[in-house]
Assembly symmetry: C2
Homo-oligomer: 600 residues x 2
């Protein structure tokens, strides 16, 4: 049933906002906002991804951008979802600008605007040809003598990168690169993906044999084609890998496997990159206008320097090299780290009755999988949500509609509920000596993730193995050195070891820029990811948005695309729209280009 | 908005029906039916696919089946779709039986039951693990030491057909076989598909280069995974072929390409087939309990015997061999036939300014593609229908809910509307000499298709080429013989010809049974397809259902699966449920097993 009171409240505010903005009356518009207020914009107003916090910031943005954006036609949308809870009334909205159609979300508190999200949905004249705008297809009279679909595809694939140039080159063909390339193809932007692995999905296939996605299926949809209705909630890595491969073909992407980025230089005059890549045994020079790094947050393994690594008598590897097929029989394994990989690897070994010890250097956020689904994900990512019309797009909007300054508080409610539900579990885990935390401000997994702290684990069973002592645990101390046959902790104790596995995460993305483009460009772009929250891995100043993701960087023509599947898939639209506008020569004045923060 | 009056009317009748059936009071149940009435059942009541026409037939069925079926819990479902139009009130319904959950559709006329459709949706205890019943997947504690998803898949694929036997063997890996295998896998029925072509989709890839599907995308969805939102309305054959290949992998089907059926024998004692197949260079013996032929209605080319074929100096081929890459330059091409292939091939040649003549031996139904979409398909197969919640399943129910005796009349309304819309087009086509008809009783394309007459064409442009004289036309006469350099018509006229293409359709499916199993079994099964309508290719007696499709045949253990994509996909559920029940030993007493009609 539609909540008509909520709808009326929202439409009233939107009509007043419309009237104020159409008459360029910023003060009257600001009167509609509550004292504490946020305007988050994804490309529609700012050609940027930015959150304006408070009236002063909103006023500054409108003063600069209003005349150019010319927003109008503000209306409530998807009325069935409008709702009231306490003093908050919220719902979806639509609007248009001079160059685009917009979609968004609003929250009123006491009748005034508390949060508003504005997103660019489509560029006018370049609307996404989807659904009712699908192309007719190939078989009509005037096309009968033309090349067929497959002839066109073969020609495109043989020419692109050789006699024709991609407008966008995407480095990295995991889910992030694939999502973006799919949107760009849909927008008719010539695009090429390169990836060092042979086939799409190899980034998953190469991981340890027992790995499954820890996020449920509803969080793993990519654009235009949801995962099948009959697939399980948690996908084995190889099944998802096969999906990525099939999806790449279904979406007709231009994908060069077994291709490595060798060197990239940007020419400020011609506004073109010169990119050398090694495709199998051939060095090829590409000249894209735009270069996107989509190599992910888990690209280059990070192995800490520990004294004694060169004299340790056993076998050492990074968690990303662990396959689960190593012969570990009768070997004592020490896993350094306590994030997802550490837990998965320890569990894999423990259920085979291997002697395995986890070295937990610092506290970790743990949440039981069932509880995470029920208390955290359920409203946006569940079968019930899907049945109720929460499509991946709507889930993306709802998720994006919470300004980061409020994000920790929103998350804390769900985290508190799951703590309560699993109080006994957490007690047992603490009793085993495991060091727990609940993320910055109690915001749990998502709070950790966006502040760049990956020491969390969605429990699929490893925690019980720790509680039961089947996984040995050394908690709270760092590693001092490796001796010949042991790992030596900071307090001098020796943990006997024939194998050491470093589940110690990955290097920052800026290292990749330094390696493949130049240290200067890496410095120019600065830190990637993190909000500036002040959490341990997320030094300030406060940015209020993820640094450098999906938006202009200080290096013209260089973009970063990444994150979890749902996240990367949703934001790929906004990066694609920015690139499309640039290709079409639509002016894209960036409001509030982020400052650079270099944190080494 | 829900039509509450319609809902109340429907629920009232269903409640009374429930009460009468629960108390086994057949007479009281029959009082709820109108004098003219139909009960169509898909497996739920009859373990058969059958339509009971009139009260006497319904009474006979209930007398035999009611005690066993024990139907109850009749309720309206999907209330949003309940509607009234004139004296007819209609809507979806649910019910249950002793062994199954049921879904269906009812039409009331003047408050009494005019048509009712009952379908088996799920066997109790074996409910389809889809949506809310998805499996959790592989990554839980108790499964950690078990083989992974990919290890399980590899083992299954290497063992099936060698050390383990499929319960069902499907011959033919086009969309029909693939749909059925997908449902069977979902029901945990060991299944193997064999196909003579190398890869799924090759049945499309091997056709002429310009071929596109003439049915729009909404009619081409297969179970559990709709085609992507961003794909065009009409798919080029190679694109759909790639989809079939990807889908086969996504659905984890066991598919042997490059495998031919050599011989199949049924042992009445062991209730097992002994099937010899040639897989690449290996002869393998399979022992399935059930054998399904899904080779399609277009499997074995039909080339008519025409005197002079052996002395004709030019090149001859069947339309299925035409690729469009033949060198036809400066050659005079005669295409015999006037169905879809004939039109497509003529158009392909004409737009390249080839000299091509169509020999139309008998009248043809033509409908312009746009008009067909608008007037015939729109309510069930369109973007608007999809947006309004007409899923492929609901479209299947709505389509199945019309008893075949009323089907021609239902279709005639839409056909009449499209005739009116395109009156000028039809006049121009007639003026060119083209012989038009409008299907049996004016029922158009679907009326033709279900009565086994394939001389129809959804116009994508060839008709205009005929009107414009760019495709030559000889209409109304058969071919008497081939001379050395010409096709000779029945009136003695010579049509000069360097190439003759036989667009003369395909052999009946029973020929394949005769060839690969035995002529005796072919005779036992009898005619396949057609209703017994008395139309030219559909001699009586009236059966009121498609003969031998998706339901028990007179040959135990032998089944036929086929038809257009939407049709085959929808009915594959009911064939899969019949096979599952047999595998699980659930009694499946068949009511009204069809009699055999042999029509040579």
């Amino acid at each position: 049933m539609v909540d008509t009171t909520a709808c009326t409240q929202i439409q009233t505010v939107l009509s007043e906002l419309n009237s104020a903005l159409v008459s360029r009356d910023t003060s009257r518009a600001l009167d509609l906002f509550a004292q504490e207020c946020y305007w988050r914009d994804l490309v529609a107003f700012t050609w940027n991804i930015t959150t304006l916090e408070g009236k002063a910031e909103i006023r500054s943005m409108l003063d600069v951008r209003l005349e150019d954006v010319r927003p109008q036609n503000w209306v409530i949308d998807d009325e069935i979802f409008a709702q009231r809870s306490g003093e908050v009334t919220e719902g979806f909205l639509r609007f248009s600008t001079a160059v685009a159609h917009g979609y968004g979300y609003i929250r009123l508190k006491g009748g005034q605007i508390w949060t508003i999200l504005t997103t660019m949905e489509d560029l006018k004249g370049y609307e996404d040809p989807v659904g009712r705008r699908r192309p007719t297809g190939a078989n009509h009279n005037d096309r009968m003598a033309a090349p067929t679909w497959s002839e066109d595809r073969h020609r495109e694939q043989s020419e692109l990168g050789y006699t024709t140039q991609p407008y966008v080159l995407i480095v990295g063909g995991g889910h992030s690169g694939i999502s973006l390339a799919t949107r760009l193809r849909q927008y008719n932007v010539p695009t090429l993906i390169i990836d060092k692995n042979g086939r799409p999905g190899d980034n998953w296939r190469n991981r340890y044999r027992t790995l499954s996605l820890h996020n449920p299926i509803w969080e793993n949809h990519m654009p235009y084609l949801n995962l099948p209705d009959n697939w399980p909630v948690f996908l084995h890595k190889d099944k998802f890998a096969d999906w990525l491969e099939a999806y790449t073909k279904i979406m007709e992407l231009n994908y060069w496997g077994a291709t490595e980025l060798h060197q990239a230089d940007y020419d400020e005059h011609s506004k073109t990159w010169t990119v050398q890549v090694d495709r199998s045994n051939e060095r090829i020079t590409l000249r894209p206008a735009q270069l996107v790094l989509a190599t992910g947050l888990a690209s280059v393994p990070n192995v800490p320097d520990i004294p004694g690594q060169d004299t340790f008598a056993g076998f050492q590897q990074h968690s990303s090299q662990f396959t689960g097929n190593e012969d570990m029989e009768n070997k004592r394994v020490v896993v350094i780290g306590s994030g997802t990989s550490a837990h998965d690897i320890c569990a894999d070994l423990a259920v085979q009755n291997q002697d395995v010890t986890m070295v937990q250097r610092s506290s970790t956020y743990i949440v039981r999988s069932e509880t995470f689904l029920k208390h955290v994900l359920h409203p946006l990512y569940s079968e019930e949500a899907a049945e109720n019309g929460i499509t991946p797009d709507r889930a993306g909007v709802l998720s994006a509609s919470v300004p980061y300054a409020e994000f920790f508080g929103f998350q804390k409610q769900a985290v508190d509920a799951s703590r309560q539900a699993d109080a006994e579990f957490y007690q047992a885990l603490e009793k085993s000596g495991f060091l727990l935390d609940y993320g910055p401000g109690g915001s749990g997994l998502f709070g950790k993730a966006i502040t760049g702290a990956y020491n969390y684990y969605i429990d699929e069973g490893a925690s019980q193995l720790i509680i039961d002592g089947r996984i040995g645990l050394e908690a709270g101390l760092g590693v001092k050195e490796l001796a010949e046959n042991s790992v030596v902790l900071e307090d001098g104790r020796h943990i006997p070891a024939d194998v050491v596995i470093y589940a110690t995460g990955f290097c920052p993305m800026s290292d990749l820029i330094a390696d493949t483009i130049s240290p200067d460009v890496a410095d120019k772009v600065g830190k990637i990811w993190g909000l500036g929250s002040g959490a341990s891995k997320d030094p300030g100043p406060w940015e209020g948005e993820l640094r450098n993701l999906w938006k202009p960087t200080q290096q013209e023509g260089l973009w970063l695309q990444g994150s979890l599947i749902a996240h990367a898939s949703y934001y790929s639209r906004f990066l694609a729209l920015q690139l499309k506008a640039r290709m079409e020569g639509i002016p894209t004045p960036v409001y509030g280009l982020q400052e650079v923060h270099n944190v080494k």
